[in-house]
């Protein structure tokens, strides 16, 4: 199909966009760079749609070779694009959500750069965003694990750059930079795992191409199951890094230091789902290693539950969503582990819709709060404003429903979708995962069900704290709705969230039929009314509990009044302190490492190694002191030395010949 030869453009269009912005963006102004970046992302999306149209006619996977990259003896890695239903689905999600978030970012970053006081960074933001789209496209369109790794690292880099976008801001002027560093380093641990997996593939299969690896995998599974197990488990380590699973999830909450569009695009909708994509893509490997599959499932299920409990105890509006993202990623990973790839993909897509919506709406809330704060305090006598005021703290909000109605409605839609209320998108996808868990293992099913309950509970809590109840600060009272460029993407995403269930509506199973061309051996899709009923009841129960706790029995009236859930006692303390996981890592990994580094720095490097080099320097100085007498400043002496050399050489020639 000639249309498939368009596929390199999904990468090239954003690259062109970012190049133009990089070279000319600052001169041509905000409107230009924002529009250009959005058009570039949109161009990618158009190409992805064309590819999808092509695939709908002829759904067989196609490989489009582009560039030969490395050829070493028998091993060769080329940059080839894989066009199949799975990769194109990912492209559609990435470019589609990406375009909407670009659009939103034009408005959001305009306000943000002025609020932060450095308007010159506007263009840089869009350069990074386009770079991210390009890297993500490389990741999802790769035909071999090496190109996938290139994209994998590329999105990691963009994540680092964008988390640290305001690198000089944050607590003590270092918190943002530290968050970026943390994300980068934790991701390196995961990437190390993925690299080891790639090395194992090269060693055992001699190739990194998907087709070759999957073809040779059964033979390896028969010959050396341990190697395959190690390969898949190392891959899982990479997944836990990128997709923020236990034990490497700790970077994602801190990553909220980045601007909100970044949180929506990278840390909710697309990049963090790369791990899920990797597992689904590598299903032929995981199927051959049941232990690895079980590990994946348990990691996902436990992460889902664990993160959901923490989300319940957060007050930062974005942190709640961050832990919620970790939890939902846990759902996807668990589904992928159980072999329910389509359910995982389905949830990935719907989650991209509603979590992007929630993050963007949260950004809208934050913008409104910042504006309200400025308006409320502009007549204050003290010139310094916003000292100590946190526009992201939900305790400072309340009653925003009347002041930001559109944002409220889209937030409500997103929250209900996340809680799993029909007929919104989240219900169908979560239901599929729960159904798969029911088939797989009882305990996993119950854990996920409990997680679903917690999900509804914390979303209900957030809705009530932010939009319901009483106005708790002057800033909240003075906040107003944002402009159209912020609201338009929100409304579009809200529509997608409402209609997202149609992608794989029970009975039609569009996504199942679409993906079965790529993924082999899928179990037949089944809709279980009983599971659906339980899940709806659970969701309603969670929301109801939130209503009872936060509006009926213990309304939060003042911004410093205690959370009603504090009645839980030590459980509340645990979740509010995030189960002290960061502190645990600090104690068992970071501190010993620092101590070792100090030891290596102080006695070893500064004592021993510096001593050696200082000694060498002293020796040189000693000889130089001796030899400098030769340079006495008399030109004639130098000439004499030259003559000496000439005579010596000539004499040698004469004597030797």
């Amino acid at each position: 199909m000639p249309i498939f030869s368009l596929v390199p453009w999904v990468v090239l269009i954003p690259v062109i966009g970012l190049s133009i912005n990089l070279l000319l963006g600052r001169r041509l102004g905000e409107a230009f760079s924002g529009a250009l970046a959005t058009l570039a992302a949109g161009g990618s999306f158009v190409v992805a749609v064309l590819l999808a149209v092509g695939l709908s006619r002829d759904p067989h996977p196609v490989v489009v070779p582009f560039v030969d990259w490395i050829t070493l003896g028998d091993f060769s890695a080329r940059w080839a694009f894989r066009v199949d239903t799975l990769s194109v689905t990912m492209m559609l999600v990435v470019a589609g959500i990406g375009t909407l978030i670009h659009l939103y970012a034009i408005g959001y970053m305009h306000a943000d750069v002025h609020h932060q006081g450095d308007p010159g960074r506007f263009t840089r933001f869009f350069v990074y965003l386009n770079l991210f789209i390009a890297a993500m496209m490389i990741l999802v369109s790769a035909d071999n694990f090496l190109m996938l790794f290139v994209g994998w690292e590329g999105v990691g880099l963009c994540s680092y750059l964008l988390i640290g976008f305001w690198f000089e801001k944050g607590k003590d002027g270092i918190a943002n930079a530290r968050a970026a560093k943390k994300a980068f380093i934790v991701n390196r641990i995961g990437d190390f795992g993925l690299l080891i997996a790639l090395f194992l593939m090269v060693a055992n299969f001699g190739s990194l191409d998907f087709s070759v690896v999957f073809e040779k995998a059964p033979a390896l599974a028969a010959a050396a199951p341990g190697v395959l197990l190690a390969m898949t488990l190392f891959m899982l380590l990479g997944v836990t890094g990128k997709s923020a699973q236990i034990p490497l999830y700790v970077w994602l909450p801190d990553a909220m230091a980045g601007p909100t569009p970044v949180s929506a695009l990278i840390h909710a909708a697309t990049m963090v789902t790369a791990g899920v994509y990797l597992i689904i893509r590598s299903t032929p490997l995981f199927v051959l290693a049941p232990v690895a599959q079980a590990t994946v499932t348990w990691v996902g299920a436990l992460t889902a539950f664990f993160a959901a409990t923490i989300a319940l105890g957060q007050f930062d509006i974005k942190k709640v969503l961050a832990y919620s993202t970790i939890s939902q990623l846990g759902f996807m990973v668990a589904a992928a582990g159980m072999g329910a790839s389509v359910a995982a993909m389905f949830h990935l897509i719907t989650h991209a819709f509603f979590k992007a919506l929630l993050f963007l709406a949260a950004g809208s809330v934050i913008l409104g709060m910042e504006k309200g704060h400025e308006r409320a305090h502009q007549f204050d006598e003290s010139g310094h404003k916003s000292a100590g005021f946190d526009p992201q703290d939900m305790r400072n909000m309340g009653g925003l429903r009347d002041r930001m109605p559109t944002t409220y409605w889209v937030y409500l839609i997103g929250a209900l979708a996340l809680s799993g209320i029909p007929p919104l998108a989240g219900f169908f996808s979560k239901d599929e995962i729960l159904h798969a868990a029911d088939q797989y293992h009882n305990l996993v099913f119950w854990i996920l069900l409990l997680t679903a309950f917690l999900t509804a509970l914390y979303m209900g809590r957030q809705l009530i704290l932010v939009f319901g109840g009483t106005v708790r600060t002057r800033a909240a009272g003075a906040s107003t709705e944002n402009g159209a460029i912020i609201l338009l993407p929100l409304i579009l995403l809200a529509i997608l969230t409402v209609l997202g269930g149609l992608i794989n509506f029970p009975g039609l199973w569009t996504l199942d039929h679409w993906l079965e061309h790529t993924l082999e051996g899928l179990p037949p899709a089944v809709f279980s009314p009983l599971t659906a009923l339980i899940s709806v009841l659970i969701a309603l129960g969670g929301l109801g509990t939130a209503y009872l706790v936060y509006l009926v029995t213990g309304q939060v009236i003042e911004s410093n009044s205690p959370d009603p859930l504090e009645r839980l006692g030590f459980l509340w303390k645990g979740i509010a302190a995030r189960w002290k996981v960061d502190e645990l890592y600090e104690a068992i990994i970071v501190r010993p490492y620092q101590r070792l580094a100090h030891f290596l720095a102080s006695p070893i490097d500064q004592g021993l190694i510096d001593g050696i080099s200082a000694g060498l320097a002293w020796l040189m100085q000693f000889f130089a002191e001796l030899l400098r007498r030769l340079q006495n400043g008399f030109v004639r002496s130098y000439a004499l030395v030259v003559l000496f050399g000439v005579v010596a050489i000539l004499t040698y020639v004469v004597l030797v010949r």
């Binding site: 008399f634 004639r636 004499l640 003559l643 000496f644 000439v646 005579v647 000539l650 004469v654």
Partner: protein, 181 residues
């Protein structure tokens, strides 16, 4: 022929030695002229009339005149003070003798292969012949030489330019433009 050569050789060596020995730089320059002249005659015997005449015009003419001019300009015929590097002589003489010995041994070794030189054939080394080679085979080096000469001229002018203490070229330029206003 041999007698002519021997006489010329003695004159050449004698003038060279005298040039080194005299204390007065003017005498040195004059001895140098003589030396160049004898060597020019040797060139003629060797069949290089063009080079011989160039030698006389370039070396004996302009270069030595330049030397004389500078000596007189600076008044540097004689230098006061003693020799600070007296020990250098005791190294220099043996080394130079060794060098001459090396040359001699080498030339002696070549001896068998070297030809006897007689009077050159008519027309050998004429300016016409040299010109042909110079402008065909050596055209590029010739052009480069021209550039070297140009650079030398510019360099000499820049170096010999009178300098006012503490006045940089930029200041001069500034003053110039201000005056024009």
């Amino acid at each position: 022929m041999l007698i002519v050569f021997i006489v010329l050789a003695f004159v050449a060596v004698g003038t060279a030695v005298s040039m080194l020995v005299t204390r007065n730089a003017i005498y040195s320059a004059l001895f140098l002229v003589l030396n160049f002249g004898t060597v020019a005659i040797l060139y003629l015997i060797l069949g290089a009339p063009f080079i011989a005449l160039s030698q006389i015009t370039v070396y004996a003419g302009s270069v030595v005149v330049l030397f004389l001019f500078v000596i007189m300009l600076l008044g540097a015929e004689k230098l006061p003070g003693g020799e600070p590097l007296r020990w250098q002589r005791f190294l220099a003489f043996p080394l130079v003798i060794l060098l001459v010995a090396d040359f001699a041994v080498n030339i002696n070794r070549l001896g068998g292969t070297l030809a006897l030189i007689d009077l050159p054939p008519r027309g050998y080394g004429e300016p016409v012949e040299i010109g042909k080679v110079l402008f065909t085979q050596y055209a590029l080096p010739f052009e480069i030489t021209a550039i070297i000469l140009l650079v030398a001229v510019v360099g000499a002018i820049v170096l010999a330019r009178p300098q006012q203490a503490g006045v940089s070229r930029r200041d001069l330029y500034k003053r110039d433009t201000q005056e024009r206003k």
